[in-house]
Symmetry: C2
Subunit: 131 residues, 2 copies
DNA sequence: TAAGGCCTTCCAGTGACTGGAAGGCAAGTG
DNA sequence: CACTTGCCTTCCAGTCACTGGAAGGCCTTA
């Protein structure tokens, strides 16, 4: 399999696949012409990556998850631990974004949004900074 | 006012303030010794920045908001438009994160998290990638 | 005069790619 | 066989918004 085949099958762009090779996530052998030759195992790793990345895991987390995936003697607790940490981070980020959203919503609805210059959004941005 | 005073008053680290000068957001004059001298107006701009950044506006948005802030003839509609766009992006991101959170929560609770290797999290990451 | 704590600039790194240039290779057509 | 098209390769640079660190100058106080 060449890189564009894997890209199509895994949903990961060729550029990204090369990048993943750069950082040592996959190690496809090379053909005599220098082309990367992807085996089924490489494909599965990349698809795994795609899925894990879509869930927001960092590359380093993905690296660890891949290692656990390939370790037949793993403890599922290790996997769960990574996922729990990540879940907590996502929840923290959601909380941050919700706070922003609330403030923004208030500001946006309080702004008339017409030709006049008076703007509670700008007032707020300026005002609170004086605290 | 020297940089560390502004940093203390605006809550923005000196490094970041220098960076903001680099990208042209503030233009404090220099003392004979080369030190930056911040006026009240610079302080307010920086505090404005801090507040806008805390609401998740990008630097480019902040730049535009600052310009509108200083434009006495602005239309509040322009400000509102920027804020609405940003709000929409935040809401989109929240939706993405909520989807991740749901999936992760399901996975985490389905994993026993003990010494044994069976792990629904890894199964899922591997399985769905085969689709 | 010396110490410390400021200030300056410049360089490099973060995370996870992404765009683009330059050039080699493969497959199909005339 | 030449040509074209499209894939493949590498390498460099840029993204975003900082942040860390080094090297060296300045200012204040003892």
């Amino acid at each position: 399999m060449n890189i564009s085949d894997v890209a199509a099958r895994s949903g990961i762009p060729p550029k990204t696949i090369r990048y993943y090779e750069d950082i040592g996530l996959v190690k496809p052998p090379r053909d005599t012409n220098g082309y990367r030759v992807f085996r089924e195992a490489d494909m599965h790793k990349l698809a795994f990556m795609g899925r894990a990345r879509a869930l927001g895991f960092t590359i380093e987390n993905c690296r660890n998850l891949l290692a656990l995936w390939e370790d037949k003697n793993r403890a599922s607790a290790d996997v769960r631990h990574i996922a729990e940490d990540h879940l907590a981070q996502i929840e923290a980020k959601i909380a941050d974004l919700n706070a922003m959203r609330e403030t923004l919503k208030t500001l946006v609805t309080s702004c008339s949004g017409d030709d006049r210059p008076d703007c509670p959004i700008l007032n707020d941005l300026a005002k609170l900074s004086k605290k």
